[in-house]
């Protein structure tokens, strides 16, 4: 439906205050959503990191900041090591890594560590976003939030 609640709750989940009003009204730097709903001609396509088994962003990272969590298989960023060179952005075929201008480093989906279900999935009113565990990955189990396409006008 293109409601964008996933974007709102993603940004909230990555805010300091964890309070909806404070996060969007007062927090500086503003929390950044790591999911983005592409809206084109009645097509609503929520896009976030696919946590690729063979991840070009990890291979391209100049500093070792981008890494694959050996246990979960999730692709994650060490904010302490990111140098904001944006090489990962150039090589991501989904265009889902964002510059976080406020913090000065990259922001991407981290599958909400510490939560049972990522915030985008938990707050999707239409259950368009689902969280699946993909055991086919050689590295072990892999979590990925996947979107079912809703093609309104097509």
């Amino acid at each position: 439906m293109g409601c964008g609640l996933c974007e709102v709750y993603c940004a909230l989940a990555h805010s300091t205050s964890q309070d909806l009003i404070k996060a969007f009204k007062r927090e500086r730097p503003r929390p950044v959503a790591r999911i983005r709903v592409e809206r084109t001609d009645g097509l609503f396509l929520p896009m976030q990191c696919r946590h690729c088994p063979d991840s070009p962003c990890v291979d391209a990272c100049l500093t070792g900041a981008m890494y694959k969590d050996p246990d979960s298989g999730a692709v994650a960023v060490d904010p302490y090591k990111c140098s904001a060179c944006w090489t990962c952005i150039l090589v991501c075929p989904y265009g889902v890594i964002t510059r976080d201008i406020g913090t000065g480093i990259v922001a991407k989906c981290d599958l909400c560590p510490g939560r049972d279900v990522p915030a985008c999935v938990a707050n999707c009113p239409n259950e368009a976003l689902v969280c699946i565990e993909d055991g086919a990955d050689a590295q072990g189990s892999r979590l990925a939030a996947a979107a079912q396409e809703r093609t309104g006008g097509h």
């Binding site: 090489t87 991501c92 075929p93 989904y94």
Partner: protein, 459 residues
């Protein structure tokens, strides 16, 4: 001061520094940066126990060389420069011979002689030796205060000369020169950048994007002298051994306290010179990263690997390609046949907040068969350009809003025919959603298919 701090990155004294005889290595990697580390990891994915050694003349655990700029700026500690956790070598059963230079490689009996007198035997060898910064033979370039900017040690040396109020001249307006300029500005140093071409980043960007970067540099009070180069480095009136100024080819003198050469790197190939390993400008490798000599592999800045835009092997001294090549080399060394899919020149830059990414053929002047789509109408320093050939993307430049550049890069890398939707590539809301349904579905399933047959090429 810096030397003392540098110990944090150094290998603690261990068995590897004693004079005990070293057994034959299944795998020997010369080099301990992007390519070497990627290869070691690939080897360990397939072979957990085969004897593996890495040799590097630098005494440090693998660190991120691009970060020496932030280190010099005083914004980064040494421990956050490590490419891998400090227990990387131990955990992966890698004998790390760090601070040891290779004197000679014998390709016949498969031996390596180290400068400290030790010898190593190997079954499979990887040359991940990288590049050496080019220092032109210039009158006065022996003077104290002439630097290059590639290693941690270089950064330490420049750090001692780069105090607030000093003036440093950077020769070369490429990525290295610009990252150094950013660090020096942070330190309160006056920076003069001399570039032989008529614009900065002349090989990485097109003219329009270069101009935007130049504006960003000038805003930080960096003086750009374009279309010029240095002729001579002169001493100080009170001490002729130390740098006092640079004379340009037009005769003008720029007084300064130091000069840094950042005009590029040459592949480090001295270990194979005169050997049976075929050498062009770099070490020539197959798509499996094997040199002309069996069991000898090469990757990274030292090697000429396949470029899918130019459809030939060439030197592309950039980090992601070194990693990709290193992984392919590692897999093949450990017995899995893997082919390098090819790469091309790619650059990304965050220059005083101006974000720029570019890849492939960015300047199509040399090729009239190219079609150029460009848009700088959004203003605010935003600029996008896509170069097409036969409806395939062969080059791209994004400045400012770069978030969706990776989608374009992916279409370029997989040689997707974009005829049906090329206008959409430049639209501000471009994304996978703007692609035709069939192609979008293919591109969305890339991760599941390991970027293989789901490229959307329809071939």
């Amino acid at each position: 001061m810096a030397t003392k701090k540098s110990r944090q990155l150094r290998q603690p004294p261990s068995a590897s520094t004693t004079k005990a005889p070293i057994p034959e290595m299944e795998y020997l990697i010369i080099g301990n940066s992007a390519g070497g580390i990627a290869a070691a990891e690939a080897i360990r994915e397939l072979d957990k126990n085969g004897k593996l050694a890495m040799v590097s003349e630098e005494p440090y655990f693998a660190y991120s060389r691009p970060l020496i700029s932030e280190y010099l700026a005083g914004e980064r500690s040494l421990d956050s420069m490590l490419l891998r956790p400090a227990d990387f070598y131990q955990r992966n059963k890698i004998e790390a011979l760090l601070g040891t230079k290779v004197a000679r490689v014998d390709f016949g009996p498969k031996l390596v002689e180290l400068e400290d007198g030790r010898s190593l035997a190997w079954r499979k060898l990887l040359l991940a030796t990288g590049g050496t910064p080019i220092v032109p033979k210039l009158k006065g370039s022996h003077r104290e205060g002439v630097f290059t900017f590639t290693t941690l040690e270089d950064a330490d040396k420049i750090g001692q000369a780069a105090n607030r109020g000093r003036t440093l001249v950077i020769i070369g307006g490429g990525l290295t020169g610009i990252s150094l300029a950013q660090a020096l500005v942070h330190r309160g140093v006056t920076v003069v950048m001399v570039e032989l071409m008529d614009r900065v980043l002349a090989t990485a960007l097109d003219t329009e994007a270069s101009r935007l970067v130049e504006q960003a540099l000038r805003r930080e009070q960096i003086e750009l002298i374009l279309g010029h180069t240095a002729k001579e480095i002169v001493g100080r009136p009170e001490d002729d051994r130390r740098v006092g100024g640079v004379i340009l080819q037009d005769g003008r003198t720029i007084p300064c306290d130091g000069v840094v050469f950042a005009i590029g790197v040459a592949p480090r190939t001295e270990l194979v010179a005169g050997s049976a390993v075929t050498l062009n400008r770099g070490i020539v490798v197959s798509r499996r990263m094997i040199t002309s000599r069996r069991d000898v592999y090469a990757c990274g800045d030292a090697a000429e690997a396949y470029d899918f835009v130019h459809k030939t092997n060439r030197l592309i001294p950039v980090w992601p390609n070194a990693v990709a090549g290193g992984r392919v080399a590692g897999f093949n060394m450990a017995g899995r046949r893997v082919s390098y899919e090819g790469n091309t020149g790619m650059h990304s830059l965050n220059c005083f907040g101006l974000s720029t990414v570019a890849a492939g053929l960015v300047d199509s002047k040399d090729d009239p068969t190219c079609e150029v789509l460009a848009d700088s109408s959004a203003g605010n320093g935003t600029y996008r350009k896509i170069v097409l050939k036969n409806n395939r993307i062969v080059g791209m430049v994004f400045v400012g809003d770069i978030e969706r550049s990776g989608i374009v890069f992916g279409l370029m890398k997989d040689r997707v025919n974009v005829r049906r939707y090329k206008e959409a590539l430049l639209s501000p809301d471009f994304g996978l959603g703007t692609l035709p349904d069939d192609l979008r579905r293919k591109r969305l399933s890339l991760a599941n298919s390991q970027r293989g047959d789901a490229s959307g090429n329809g071939r």
